[in-house]
Amino acid sequence: MKDNRKVRNIIEALCLHEDPDSIRVLEQMGTNSSDDEIRELTARALVRKNMHDSLAVAITNKGKGINDMSTVVAMSTINELLALDNKEEAIRVLTDTVEMHSDEEVRENARSVKALMALS
């Protein structure tokens, strides 16, 4: 079994980092990883940052975050969104995605998650 402890710690450090450039690193390095665990950790870190750009990566990009091909990654991202204390920014990003995104599947996913967040 592969030991991703160091990478996990880097993802956690980037999640806690105040530099906005950390979002770019997480998106480029983490969400493009072939390792499901790394993609899952990255998507959750992006949601926990709770910033517009980081949430946009996890919500509006096809194949990433809630739109990931892996059910585990998608569900973990949704759970992280539902666990947010302040959901305002996430709901704003979801609303924009439902109204304006070009891809139907992404819009449907965003609509479902938005409904879940409204209920939670």
Partner: protein
Amino acid sequence: MAIIAKIGQVLNTPISVGKTVKHSSNPFAPSTFKGNVLTADVFETKAAKPSLKDKLKLSAFVGSIGDAFPTFRKGIESVAAFGNRMKQGFSSAISKINEIGSMEVSIDFATPAKAIKSGFESMVDNYSVQKLRKQDVNSLESMWKELSGLNIAA
């Protein structure tokens, strides 16, 4: 020993069942022993003639044997049960001793050693979250690339 010899003497004497002897000189003639009437000849011996006091004692003793046996039996049974319990307890104790004997007594140093190792590693670990947070994003990106270059999709 003397009293046992006398009991044997009494028991060896023929006893007439259901037969009553009247006009006997023996004062114990009307005495019954489990429904049997003791004849005058019971205590008649040529060698040693028991005294009146001995006859009274023996008669009382013989009469009490029948009643005493159940008590003896109960006593014997309880003793047997006690012995069985002791045996069981002893055998379980033996098995416990065997179990203990087969066990190896050892002190596990693994857990404290692991904790010490973990604490030491956290001190010297350059990849702890606390240390990584202090680094700039570019450094983290470089480290990540170095660590998981194979994990990044081409």
